[in-house]
Every structure is written in structure tokens, then in C-alpha cells.
Symmetry: C2
Subunit: 475 residues, 2 copies
């Protein structure tokens, strides 16, 4: 171990191999569910150094936990508590290697902060549409490794759909130079998409070529009261038809979720929620003008009011009002935390089956666990719900969680699978859900995943125990 | 062998195991470059039968060539000439299993003809945007196996981007039920995209869930004369900015390519080409109205004329005129065939580098091969050129091809790689380009591909010798 540390210090400089002091930023996960202990935190400065580190670890059989901004929600980027794994942080690799305006691409290193890439694109006159809560600290390498989602997926897709090429250091310490600004390339297996979403278990993403889009001329936000989830789905269909690709956001929020925002953040104005079980936030991005966007939006909402799938609606008059509406949506998680402990689920269901899923699963939980409160909200346009379960108003919530979390998860996940859904829509697997995957994922798929893992990482040194279990994992 | 045939007859019915008569439709490739001989053509009727056939073949070590419409251009779906491979045709599996309007998806079997799926979507009020020359006979299973492109990729992506889930029979004869109408699912490695584009070498796609889109309210076509390829790239940028997602087509055509259409099809009116080196065909799809589409198009073209990147332009007045313009574009390949033998390339280059690539590669070829004529056209919006080389006007073209094809390919492919491009943009690898891949693809990528192939098809029975070479391939 000491020989490896000496070797790593030689390879990338002693100041970039951290073994002393407070390393909790690297060793504890974002939600503080897991506190690990690493052999060292290693911070290479370029791709060749990453390759050298991986080779050195491969020779000594030391496993590697790649890490970006360490903002993941499923415990996928922190070491176990053995003190034998190294954390390989990509933070020092944050160069923008190229912006190619005519090709609508930028090539960036894995450690670039998401928000800085949004700014890089904007400065060049373009939109980089990936956007999510942690954008001020998460990195594009982490976004790609976890196939991050966020609020613009409806129009632009996940991180996966925004990526055209990758540079990867393999588990053998070889460099695959797969950076590409090509929108069409049919020369063999899709290695890019295999690494995207593999959470560092097959190799380390060191750089990527990402798509850029024209900036919209205007972006408007509306808020609508809908009588039921069926009506929300009808409104979604109308919005697709009338706004086409202009529809860049469609978020649904249940009355109880909104009431928590009103209760805990009384300075926020939460529109329309008191008289309706559900509200919808819509965003329309227009490449022409604000006037055109407003006309389009108003004619959509008039039609929806006529048809009865919307009972009331407002369109933000200006940017401040639009931000205030989005702020309500984004405050739900925090309001929920203010209300107390809860059990979170990040699930997806085919859009058409969401109303029935929510009705039957709400009833199931309420029948099995009296007093349980359901905080429903999410990206309805993507079929992605944050279907969260709040402890009953009376009693000790910590005691509730201890007693009920596993049972609640089983009820919810069983219902998700019965409705053709996924138990992890956008947060990934990490070590938090790897056991659930063994239970809920098709055995044929798991067997193929294990085969691929063994083919590309035969020593099981790349983020072992995450995503897929092979042999003896550390978790 | 006889025992296997008897077994297959038992499993799926004797009338679906073809061994006699004219099997050339299954054994000869579309472009008649390869004439193989199969042990039998096997036509299972459902997924369980496909699985049973694969298991029977796996036990006896007989390799399988999966086949859809057999319209591929790279010899990827016909048997070798050994008489020991079976062709597994998916043609009998052509059911549309479900259309889910609220989820914007349809689930279809692999043998569905592409055009029939376009019609299924239209009948339900939606657009299924995959569109290509062979759509009347190619199948969706083949489209997915080869990650087909076509004319709508600019807006909607390749077959890959239109697919949400797959049902696959693995090389072990197991069924992976990965059909999914989910837009977000982060539960493990991206097996879907691994099978898409793998040309039947990892398993057999038996069904897929595909995306549907709202039908546009209007679709307009324009034709513009541009002074140079640089100007075409500038026009593309303006079109992205002004039309946003409305830009659904952007095709470039060189003067010589258009002159061949005018020469061989004098009844067609080819606009504007005589006074300009390049023409561009643009398509604008609008979710509002034809009036709006026309206003948008005209303001774009006015701006382009002002800026000088367009010297003249026409917008089709009606559907008939629009079809006539597209017909000119689609007649280039046929006109080229009328002119005589030629060497075809299906390449992609980052859009920004295409002008320099064409200038330098044209010059290189003309310097090395006097009299050579270049037929340049393609999907500029995707960076995809059909960069074809026509024999000199004088001399024997067959003799030219025999003498020069390999040299021309080397010159072109070397230039493609030097410009960061791909030697197969949308047609795939098959057996035609598998040798080129060994030479031009990164050894690290090839090694990973071989590892994946061996992990998922350890006996090398699935379409051996295509895409990736492992052990002793049949080609």
C-alpha cells in the first residue's frame, strides 16, 4: 500500500495524493447516508495521469472509486469504510477543450462544473440544456456517469442524449479516444452509451463532446390547475400537439406537496392550489419572439379550459414571475424536509399509466400504513415521479422510518414494476439500490450486465459493488 | 445437420423451414455483391419460437444470420457460401402490439415494414419520423440492428434515438423482455443501445417500443443556391437559429451531382444549379400553420440573401412542388448509376470541417487519379456526405473500378479519419467494412468490442464475421 502511494506521488505529484486531514468532502456522500474511509484521494491533472493511476492500481489490485462533484443521491461515488480504496477525483480536469459553433458542439473535461458549461455555451451564443438542482457543484463527468436528468429532459433528453463522444480511461489503464463531434457514426458497438450511465464501474470518463442548441428567443412559464391526473395527461397531449418542440417543461405537483411549500415558506405565493388536487407548471421555449410564445401559450390554455382539463391558469407576465413559479416547484423537496423525515422514490412509469398507478398505490399505502401522507410531484412529461412518503403527522417520524421504510419501498417498487415502470428514473443505482436491482431487474439483463462488467473490468477494480454485483463486492 | 433441420421443423412447423427452391431473396444481398448459400431459411412466428431456434442452433454449434427486409448496403444479413449457416428471417413477426397515444409510443415486432409503421402512426394521429429510401421493404428490426439514418435525423435522430425499449433473444436463446415505454430508466448498463447498431452479432431483436411525435401542421420545402460549402454551413447555422426544431431537413447537392439528374432525367426540372456550385434543400415543419411556416421560411431566406450565403432561392408553393424538389434530391443515386459505375462512400465529418475536407480531398483525388469525377451530396445537417467517386468520362469504368477502388477508398478514408470523421455514417459495417474497421478504428475500442462480443456470444454463433472479428470468422 505504501509502495503504491509512493508510486502515485511520483506519477502525479505528492500534493495531489491526499491522505491526511479532513477528507470528508470526498469520503461522505451528499445525503450523509454513508461515511467511508479511503486509502487516498488522488487528483490527477490530465488524462495521461488518470491512465497512469489506473495502471498503478491495477497492478497492485487496489480498487478505484471515481468521483466528480460528489453530489449523487444513491451513494455511488464515495469509498467503502475499508481504507483500501482510492478515490480518484476528476476535479482538476476542468478545461473546455473546444467550442465548435458550426458543428454545435463543445468538448469539455470531466471535472467541468455543469453551471460553468451552461455559461460557456451562453457566452458562445448557444444553449446547453442540461439543468438540475446540483448544477452549481456537480460535474459533467458525474452527469454522464449517472446519465443525469433534470428539468429539460422532455425536450432535450437526459445527459445521454446530449453526448456525442467520450474519452475514457479503461479498467486496464488504456485511453479510448472516442471524442467525436459526429451525429452519425455506425462503426461498431455503442461504447459511448455503455459508459454513459455505468457509474464508473467500467472505466473513467475523462472528457466528452456535448451538443449545443440555439438559444430560444423567449421562454414563458404558465401554471394551471387541473382536476385530476388524467386531465394533466390530457393537457400534456394538447401541449405536445400545440407547442411541438417548444414544450420544454411539464411538471406536476399534488395539493399536499404544494401545501407544504405554503406552510413552511409563507413568503412564497403558491397559486391556485387550494381549490384543485393538482397543479401543472408548463414552459414554452420559442425561437421567434415573446409575443409569439405568449399567443401560442394562451391559445393552448384557452383550448384546455374549454375542454375542461384545466380549470384555471396563469401565464407569468415577466421573468421574475416565471422564476417565482419555478421556485415553488423547486421548494417542494425543502418544504418536505422542513415537515420532517420521509421516504423518497425516484420512479418512472409510462405516462398513460401514471393516473392509475398513483390512485392504486396511494390507496394501497393508506390501507397498509394508516395516517401516511403522500407527497407527489415530478416531471410528468418524462413519466418521472418523485413519489415520496411522509411520516404520519402524529408520532415519531424517525421511529416510523425505521419501522416502515423497507415495507414502503416494497409496496411502491412492486407497484412500479406491475405498471411497467423503473425503480430508478434519473438518480441511478449506486450502492443504495444495487440490492433492489438484483430483486427487480430481469435476470437475463443482470446476467448480460455481469458479463459486460467481467469483460471490461475483469479484476472488478472499478467502483466495485455499484450498479451490478459480481463476486465479492465491498458493500 | 439433418437432425437440427428435423428439430427446427418440429419447433416451428415444416413449412417455415425453407431448404428447397429459389432462396436467392434471402441469400443474395441487396446490391448483389454477395451470393451466399444457407443450410436453411428459418421463419419463426413469435418470440418463443425465435428463442427455441437459437437454443437448437446453440446446442449444435450452427451459426445464425438474422434477417429483416434484407435491404442493407454492407452485406450484413446474408449467409456465407458454406451452406452451414441458417438465415433467421423475422418477416413473419409483423404485429403492432400496442399504440399508446398518451405515452407517445408504439410497440411493434421486428418484422414490421417501416412504411407500415409510418402509416400506423399516421392513422393514430402521430408522426413516426424514421424515413429512408428502402422504407417500403426494410423492417424496423433491421433499422434498429443497423441504427438506420435517413432524411429526418437532423430533427429526430437515428433509429437509436427513436427507440425506448427492446425485446431480444440472446445468443443463449433466452428472452430479454426490455420493452419499455420509459423516457427515463437508470437501472444499469444501457443494453438497449448495445443491441441497437450491433447488426445481429449479439442477439436478435424481436420487438421494440418506438417513440411517436405530434404530426406537424405544415411542412414546407425550399431550394437555395449557395456560392460555397462554407456558405452552406453558414446557412445551416442561420436555419437552426431561426427555425429551431422546425428545421427537419438540410440536404446539400453539388453541381455535378445535379447535372447528372438533369442529363439522365430531362423531364425533371432541376432548379438554380447551372449558375452555382452547390444547392441546398431545406425543410421546415411547423406545429402552427402553413402561413406561419411560410413567413418563417421567407424571413430566413431574406436574411440569408442579405448576408450573401444564399444567392437565389425558391420556396415550394404546394405539395406537388415540394415532392418534385425532394424527387430531384432522391434521383441523384439513380442518375449516378445511369452515368455508370462508381465508388460509394457513406461518411460523416464534423459539420465545421466539411468544406475543408471536400476541398482537400477533391484536390487529392484529382491529383492522384486524373479525370476522376466527384458526386457530392448528402445530409449536411448531420455531417453525413455521400462522397461518391465516378469513373472518368473516357475509358472503361469497370476497368477503372478494378484498378482504383482500393486506392480511392484508402485516400478517402485516410482523409476522413484525418478530419475526425467516420467511415460509416449510417449504413453500418456488415462484412463489407469489417476489414476497414480493423484498420481505422481505435485498437482500444476494438478490444472492448471483442470483449463484449465474447461475453454475450461466447460461441460466436450470432452473425459471425460481421462488425467485429473474433477468432476465425467466416468472411
Amino acid at each position: 500500500m505504501q509502495a503504491l502511494l509512493d508510486n502515485l506521488r511520483q506519477l502525479i505529484g505528492a500534493q495531489h495524493v491526499l491522505t491526511d486531514g479532513d477528507l470528508s468532502a470526498y469520503e461522505h456522500d451528499w445525503r450523509k447516508r454513508s461515511r467511508g474511509k479511503s486509502l487516498a484521494v488522488v487528483r490527477p491533472g490530465n488524462t495521461a495521469e488518470v491512465a497512469a493511476v489506473v495502471k498503478a492500481c491495477a497492478v497492485t489490485g487496489v480498487s478505484i472509486v471515481p468521483q466528480g462533484g460528489n453530489t449523487g443521491l444513491v451513494v455511488g461515488s464515495t469509498p467503502d469504510d475499508s481504507g483500501t480504496q482510492i478515490v480518484l477525483s476528476l476535479q482538476r480536469m476542468h478545461a473546455v477543450r473546444a467550442v465548435d459553433a458550426a458543428n454545435l458542439t463543445m468538448t469539455v473535461e470531466a471535472g467541468c462544473i455543469l453551471q460553468s458549461l451552461q455559461e460557456t455555451a451562453a457566452n458562445a451564443g448557444f444553449l446547453f440544456p442540461l439543468s438540475l438542482g446540483a448544477e452549481g457543484s456537480c460535474t459533467i463527468g458525474g452527469n454522464l456517469s449517472t446519465n443525469a436528468g433534470g428539468t429539460q429532459v422532455l425536450r432535450y433528453g437526459n445527459a445521454r442524449e446530449l453526448c456525442l463522444g467520450l474519452e475514457v480511461v479503461t479498467a486496464h489503464g488504456e485511453i479510448w479516444s472516442g471524442l467525436s463531434g459526429l451525429r452519425k457514426d455506425n462503426t461498431g458497438y455503442d461504447l459511448r452509451n455503455l459508459f454513459v450511465g455505468s457509474e464508473g464501474t467500467l472505466g473513467i470518463i475523462t472528457a466528452a463532446t456535448m451538443k449545443l442548441y440555439p438559444q430560444p428567443a423567449a421562454q414563458l412559464t404558465a401554471w394551471a390547475a387541473v382536476p385530476s391526473l388524467e386531465d394533466a395527461v390530457t393537457l400534456l397531449g394538447l401541449a405536445h400537439q400545440h407547442l411541438g418542440a417548444g414544450l420544454t417543461g411539464f411538471e406536476v405537483m399534488g395539493q399536499f406537496a404544494l401545501s407544504l411549500v405554503a406552510k413552511h415558506y409563507p413568503q412564497q405565493r403558491v397559486p391556485l392550489y387550494q381549490d384543485t388536487p393538482w397543479c401543472v407548471l408548463l414552459e414554452n421555449s420559442d425561437n421567434e419572439s415573446e409575443t409569439h410564445a405568449r399567443t401560442q401559450f394562451e391559445s393552448l390554455l384557452e383550448l384546455a379550459l374549454e375542454q375542461g382539463c384545466v380549470t384555471d391558469a396563469v401565464v407569468a407576465e415577466n421573468l421574475a414571475q416565471a422564476h417565482a413559479l419555478w421556485h415553488v416547484r423547486e421548494s417542494i423537496s425543502l418544504a418536505q424536509a422542513e415537515e420532517g423525515l420521509n421516504i423518497k422514490h425516484d420512479i418512472s412509469i409510462p405516462v398513460s399509466r401514471i393516473p392509475e398507478f398513483v390512485r392504486s398505490t396511494d390507496a394501497l399505502l393508506q390501507a397498509n400504513i394508516p395516517g401516511v401522507r403522500l407527497v407527489n410531484f415530478g416531471h410528468l412529461g418524462d413519466g418521472n415521479l418523485h413519489y415520496n412518503v411522509q411520516a404520519p403527522a402524529e408520532g415519531d417520524p424517525a421511529q416510523f422510518l425505521r419501522a416502515q421504510e423497507e415495507r414502503v419501498n416494497t409496496l411502491v417498487f412492486d407497484a412500479v414494476i406491475a405498471h411497467g415502470g423503473s425503480i430508478s428514473a434519473e438518480h441511478g443505482v449506486g450502492s443504495l439500490k444495487v440490492g433492489h436491482l438484483e430483486h427487480y431487474k430481469s435476470p437475463v439483463a443482470l446476467e448480460m450486465m455481469r458479463g459486460i462488467k467481467q469483460a471490461l473490468d475483469p479484476q472488478n477494480l472499478m467502483n466495485p459493488g455499484r450498479v451490478v454485483q459480481v463476486g465479492n463486492a465491498g458493500f
